[in-house]
Amino acid sequence: MNGIIFDIKRYAIHDGPGIRTTVFLKGCPMDCWWCHNPEARDDITGKLAEKTRTVSVAEVTREIARDRIFYDQSGGGVTFSGGEPLAQPDFLLVLLEFCRGQGIHTAVDTCGYAPTEDFERVSELTDLFLYDLKIMDNEQHTKYTGVSNELILDNLRLLSQKGSKLQLRVPLIPGITDTDENLEAVADFLSRLRGVDGVSILPYNRFGEDKRTRFKLEDRLGRLPDQSRADIESAAAKFRLRGYEVKIGG
C-alpha cells in the first residue's frame, strides 16, 4: 500500500512524550486561516510542497524503525501528523499496526474532522491522541476553519468514552481562539470529558504568515498583534484552574 507524505522529521521533541519521529501525512479537510502547514493541503504543490512524495508502507516503517533506540531510551515513539492523518485512514492504520507489532508508542495528531468510524478503528491502535480544539462557537469555527465543529466534538466525546488517552492542543490565535470567552468554553467542554491527560497551549507563531508571504498564498488573516507572555499565561491558567497539566508550546 502507498500513501502520500510531505515530510518525516526525526528528533521531534514537541509532538508527544520522549524523542519521536513525526510522519506528516498529506491532506487536510479543513481550511484554517492561520494554517502554518499549508503544504499539507492537497491543492498545494510546487516549491512549498517539494518534499511531498508517494511512499510505500515499507519506506515509512523503515524510517520509523531507524530511531528505535531513541524511542526506547526516552519513552518516545512515532507521531502521525499532517495535514490530517485520518485523511488517509487505511495507510494510517497499516502504519499504526506496524508500530503496535513492534511495541513502538504511537501518537496521532488530529484536527478531529474525520468520519467517526475511522476514529473507532484508529483508536484501537493509537496510544495517544494529540487532539486540536480550536473554537467552540460553531459559527465562528465554520468561518475560520471552513468546517463545522460538531463532528470534531462528537469524535472527541467518542474517544473519551472509549478510554483513549488524550492530550488537547489549543492554538492561540490572537483575537480568534485566544478570547476569554472561547478559552473558557473550551476548558468547560474538556472538564466534562475523561481521559484528558494534559493540555498544550500553542502560542501563535509567524511561520504561517511567513509561508503565505513567501509562496504568495491567499492571506485572510493579515498581520496579527503580538502575543504577550501574559496572554499566554492567562490562557494556560484557565486550564490549570480546572486541574489540567498545561504545557506551553506542545
Binding site: 520522549g18 530511531d67 533506540i69 531513541f70 531510551q73 526516552s74 508550546g249
Partner: protein, 787 residues
Amino acid sequence: MNERIQKLRQQSLDAKPTISLERARLLTEFYQSGQPERVSIPVARAMALKYLLDHKEICINDGELIVGERGPAPKATYTYPDICTHTLKDFDILNSREKVSFAVDEKTRKQQQDEIIPFWSGRSVRDLIFQKVDRPWIDTYEAGIFTEFMEQRAPGHTVLDDKIYRKGFLDFQLQIEDSIKKLDFFADPEALAKREQLTAMSIAADALISYAERHAEKLTELADSETDSRRKRELREMAKICRKVPAHAPGGFREALQYYWFVHLGVITELNTWDSFNPGRLDRHLLPFYRRDIEEGVLTEERARELLQSFWVKFNNQPAPPKVGVTAQESNTYTDFCLINLGGVDETGESADNELTYMILDVIEEMRLLQPSSMVQVSKKSPDRLIDRALRIIKTGYGQPSLFNTDEMVQEMIRQGKSVQDARNGGASGCVETGAFGKESYILTGYFNLTKVLEITLNDGIDPRTGKQIGIQSGDPSRFESFEDLMDAFRRQLRYFIDVKIKGNVIIERLWAEHLPAPFMSILIDDCIKSGKDYNDGGARYNTSYVQGVGLGSITDCLAAIKYQVFDKRNLTLPQLLDAMKANFRDAADLRATLVESTPKYGNDDDYADDITKQVFEIFFETVDGRANTKGGHFRINLLPTTCHVYFGSVIGAMPDGRKKGEPLSEGISPVQGSDRRGPTAVLKSASKIDHIRTGGTLLNQKFSPQVLESEDGLEKLRHLIRAYFTMDGHHIQFNVVTAETLRKAQKNPEKYRDLIVRVAGYSDYFVDLGEDLQNEIIRRTEHGVA
C-alpha cells in the same frame, strides 16, 4: 564567588601572555656549567630540573590560597629550547600575531639571539628529529599528510591517579631506593642504566621538595611583613602546608590541592608535555579529605569551594607553550588541554559521582575560565542528575563540560589489554583520548590526513599541490573499473604512508628515550619506579602510541560521491570528475551542486554513505592497530582533529564531495559541515556505525541553538539523546550552544565578545582568538534548532 576569588579570577583574565626565558636561561646555564658531561643523561636531566626549581623566581600572588606559578608571573610562559628552539622570526610572529599572541620584549629577543639560540641550535630534539628522519618522511610531512607532535612538545598525554594523595615524595624516594637495592647487576644487563634512571628520579623528587620549601620561605617572609592580621595567618598556614607537601602525604583537603599543584608545576617545568597533565578524577581523589575535614570541623563547604576556585585560577594562569610552524597551524591555542574528569565509576564498577562532583561542577560554572577544561564521565549507572547538571552548564553556551561514555572507555582499555580496575580508574584526557590514569604513557604521535591520501590516490601517487611523486604508483585512476579498484589503490597508498609515519615514530621515540628522559614524570607513573625505566622509554605499565585520523566525514563523502555518481549512476567518468576538481569546479556549478545536494552523505543515517565510513575505518584500523612501538606497547588509532582539519584542508585541492580547494575538512567523526540534514538522531546513528571500542577515542561535535535547551523538557530529551548514543557505544559528545547570529556578531565586533567561549574540537576556546576560517566553520556547523 567571593571578593578574593573575583580578584584572582580577574587578574588571571587580565594577565597578558608573555614569553619568559627564565627556564631557557637557567637550563642553558646549567648545561654550560660542565656538570652534565660528568653524569648520565637521565641524571643530568634531573639535575637540570633541580637547578631550575632551585633558582627560578618564586611568585606568590596577592590573596591566593594555592601557590606556585610555572613562570615568574601569571601567564609568563616558558620556552623549551631543549625541545624546540624558537627562532627570532618565531618570536616576532608570536609577538605581533593577532590571535593567541605572546608578548616578547626586546631584552627577551636579544637573550634568545645571544644566549639561547647559539647553544641549543643543533641540540634540540626537534633539530635531531629533522636530521634523523628520512626523505620520504620529510616529503610526506611537508605535503601535509601527517603532523608530528613530538617535534615541539614532549610525549605527555597522561594524567595522574590517586598515588600522591597516599604518599609523599619522601615515600617515593624510599620506593626508588628499594628498586635500586633490588637491581641485579649480575643477571640484568640493563641494571646500570636502571640505576642511573632511578637515581635521576630521586634527584627529581628532591627538586620538588626543595621547590616547595622555597615557597614556604617566601611565604614566611611575606607573613612577617604582612600588616593585615588575617592574611598574615593565612600566609603562615600556607608556609606550613608547603613544608609538609609534597614531602609527605597530604593530611587534608587543602594540602591535597597544594600538593597536586606542585606536582603539576614539576611536570610542566621538566618538559612541555603534550597534552598537559592533570589531576584526572579530582572528585574521587579529594573526597576522602573533604569528608574527613568536614566531619572534623576543619573545613566548611564554603571554604572548600573557595579553595577549588583558587585552584582553578592556577590552571588558567598557565597558557600552553607557544608552538611554531605547522604545529601552530594544527593547534593554535592558549589552552593546554587539562581535562578534569568527573563522575564515572570506581574500581569496583559502582557509580563514582559524589557531593564533590556537583561542587566542582558549580565551580566550573561559576569560574567560566578557559582552563582547566572539564568533562563528565557518564556510565549507565550514573544518575540522570549528573547529566542534567552538566547540561545546565553546557546550555549557558560555555562549551564545557563535554560528555564521555565510561562503559565504552572501559571496554576500549580492556581490548587493549588493561586490567579492569585500571580501566575503571581511567578516563579521557586532552581532547578525547582514553587512558589508564597514572599507569599509562599514551602518546599522540600526530594527525593523519585520510582525505589527502585519497587525493594522492586519485593522482597515482602524485601530490597535485606540488606535482611531486610522494606516494606509490597505485594505478591510473582512469583505468579503475570499479569502486573496489579505487578502494584497493587507496588501501595500498594508505599502507605506504602509515609505514612512513611509523618508521619516523620509531626514530622519534628512541630520540626522546635517549636524549630527553623525564625522571620527574617517571616518579608519577606506574611502574617506572618498579621497572627502573623512564616514562619516555617504556617504564609505564601501558605504552600506547596513537595515530589520529582526521576527516572521516570528508573522506566518506568523497568516496560516496565517486561510488554513486561514477560507478553506480554513471553520471560522469572519473577523469571528468578529476578535471572538474582540477579546475576547482570552475564552470561546473551544476556538477558541484549535484555532488553537494544529490549525493549520499555521512551523518544522515544513510547506509550507502555510512558503509563507506565503516570501510575507511576498517582499513585505517587494520593498517595501524597492533603494530609494535619501541616501548613494549602498540600503535592504535583514534579519531580527533583538534583544529588540524583546517590545516589539513588547506593542503588539499577541490574534492569529489564538492568541497573547494583549501576549505577545512570535517572534524572528528562529525559530518562535513552542513551536510547532515536529518537531525541529531541521524548524526548519532551514523557516528555509531564505526566501532568506537577499537579506537582510543573519537570526537563528535553537535551544535544546538540555545532554545532547544530552554525548557526542562528539552533538557530531558537531550539527556535521552546522549544516553542513546552511549548505549550505541559512542565515545564522546560535546555541544556548542550558541546561535549563528551571535557568532557573526562576535566576528564583526570581537572586542565585545572576548568572553565568548565555544567548543572547537575536543576543547573550548575563545571565539575571538580563533582564525577566521575556523570562526566561519563554527558558524556553518549545522544548527539543530528545533524550537
